[in-house]
Symmetry: C2
Subunit: 333 residues, 2 copies
């Protein structure tokens, strides 16, 4: 009852050919006489032979597996990207090793190392910050890596994103144009470049163009959770904010419910624009207006880009920007 495996050698013997020939037919190499091919195929069928991908990986130095580092699959934003990644991966016959990093730098480095040990052919990285140590590991990796929905301020790494600066600027302008003088900026940690150097920059630009003064009291730094958003309400009120641009949908839902539960009307008393356009925006009431980004596509395009890199195909744009938009729903007037 031991796992008795049929090997390529068994097939070769039964079909009365060499291993090399079996390997050829299995891999669709055209240099095989049709008659031989058929003979081998028959034996494969009869013996129910299944090539061992590990042995194949060792011999060919290709595993047809790519690593995916994700902060948290449970977050709708990231799972949408992951879905795009997996679909394209499957299309190109790759499998995905998925690991949650919790945006924890140490864990990211460790995960990266085990992925390299497993000889993945490429890596898609999601996360909001690239620590120094992590960057060092990236550099030393001989494996292609692309960032998905994750900015690299230095622009060295292949990545796919939207233009966060412009998107946020447009959203904030929209809020200001409707008369909001005090627009809150709510995001995750400002240590993360995507917040500090992109979103916040867009926010400041919009203020400047509207002739408004930047006020630190309107900047709220918190973590990306529903709960955190909900708890922000008193602080928002204290700061006199009448609108907010929020960096994450779950967080935004929390903010909105916090505000509503305090008796204010959204959007009449308080307007909100969120950033990720996940399906959550349509499930809450009022539905949330949002910056629009093609989540699935960001994942899909990163994976596609990665396939090119893994294949050493020429790549025109190493850092691709996908189009964004602004979707008006019911949390703005």
């Amino acid at each position: 009852m031991d796992k008795q495996t049929v090997t390529i050698y068994d097939v070769a013997r039964e079909a009365d050919v060499s291993m090399a020939t079996v390997s050829r037919v299995v891999n669709g190499n055209p240099n095989v006489k049709p008659a031989t091919r058929k003979k081998v195929l028959d034996v494969i069928e009869r013996l129910d032979y299944r090539p061992n991908a590990v042995a194949r990986g060792l011999a060919s130095k290709k595993t047809t597996t790519v690593g995916v580092i994700i902060p948290d699959v449970t977050n709708i934003y990231f799972s949408a990207l992951a879905r795009g990644i997996d679909d394209i991966a499957m299309m190109y016959k790759y499998n995905i090793i998925l690991t949650n990093s919790d945006e924890n730098g140490r864990k990211e480095v460790q995960v990266l190392n085990t992925l390299m040990a497993k000889q993945v052919d490429g890596i898609v990285f999601m996360g909001n910050d690239i620590s120094e140590e992590l960057r060092k590991e990236f550099d030393r990796a001989k494996t292609p890596i692309v960032l998905a929905g994750c900015v690299d301020p230095t622009g060295q790494m292949p990545s796919v994103n939207i233009d966060y600066v412009a998107a946020v600027e447009e959203a904030v302008k929209n809020l200001i144009d409707r008369g909001n003088q005090k627009v809150a900026f709510i995001s995750g940690s400002l240590d993360q470049p995507i917040n500090r150097e992109y979103r916040l920059k867009g926010y400041k630009q919009a203020l400047k163009k509207a002739g408004l003064r930047y006020d630190e009291k309107l900047v709220f730094e918190t973590d990306y959770s529903y709960k955190a958003g909900q708890l922000l309400q008193p602080a928002l009120q204290a700061a006199g904010a009448t609108a907010a641009i929020v960096g994450d949908d779950e967080l935004a839902a929390g903010v909105m419910n916090g505000v509503s539960d305090a008796g204010l009307n959204v959007p009449d008393d308080f307007e909100i624009i969120t950033s990720n356009d996940t399906k959550l925006t349509e499930m809450v009431r009022p539905k949330m207006s949002s910056i629009t980004q093609p989540l699935y596509d960001i994942g899909a395009v990163s994976m596609r880009l990665l396939t090119k890199l893994m294949n050493s195909e020429p790549v025109d744009e190493r850092t691709v920007l996908l189009p964004y938009g602004l979707m008006k729903r019911d949390s703005t007037n």
Copy 2:
């Protein structure tokens, strides 16, 4: 500039020992003299040697990788399970190959086969139905498989779930006790055992015990999507339902918003209990009452069970039932 890899052989040479010894220190085998160990460790450090997991897998027939088949990562219910699975997997030094199946039988079989080809040490399967063909593949697999949040009516496969029959019965009873004579049953396809043989059974039992007649017109078979739920409102009204038990949270959110948008008040005109207790239940307004199940734990426990199976450890219960509950929020009175 070619990927010049340091092998165990290089280390052996530099440290002036045999490969076997290097292997021993890398694997923590105690049978190595401390002095030798240090010497080897130093060389490893100096050369930055990283063991090749693929070669290791071939030689040892263990890949420390498990396959996870999931209908759709994008669904909050499943991603919560996946998170539990990954955390425990990581704890036991396993990695996860994650693939979406879309509950498509053909795809499930194909994915299963590539997982086997990749020599995964075990598999966690999520999905609502096990087709005949899939079951055949399961049987023939020499690899341990456990079902997570997925019933096997035949009880042959290891699985971890809650008692869906009892949970639904309790929820429906709760609805009936509050005077609802016409409780709708809303779920995914009744072809799926979990709906046909478990949830519906609980529903019928509750009706019977309350002396109510089972009415097919109150049974709504749809797909698990927000949209589908939203569109159900007219039919619900036509059937005269005043309450509903719903099999999925996104679906339930759709139902609730459909009902609300039609001008009815939830819970005064229409009560809803949903089934999965995902965080979505707290994000919508009103918050949804729900059957409570330990999602993360279902994933975690399945993975833990799988580790035991992979390790040929004795297992007391092959089909484990985790506790459920009923959480009253604002979609019921």
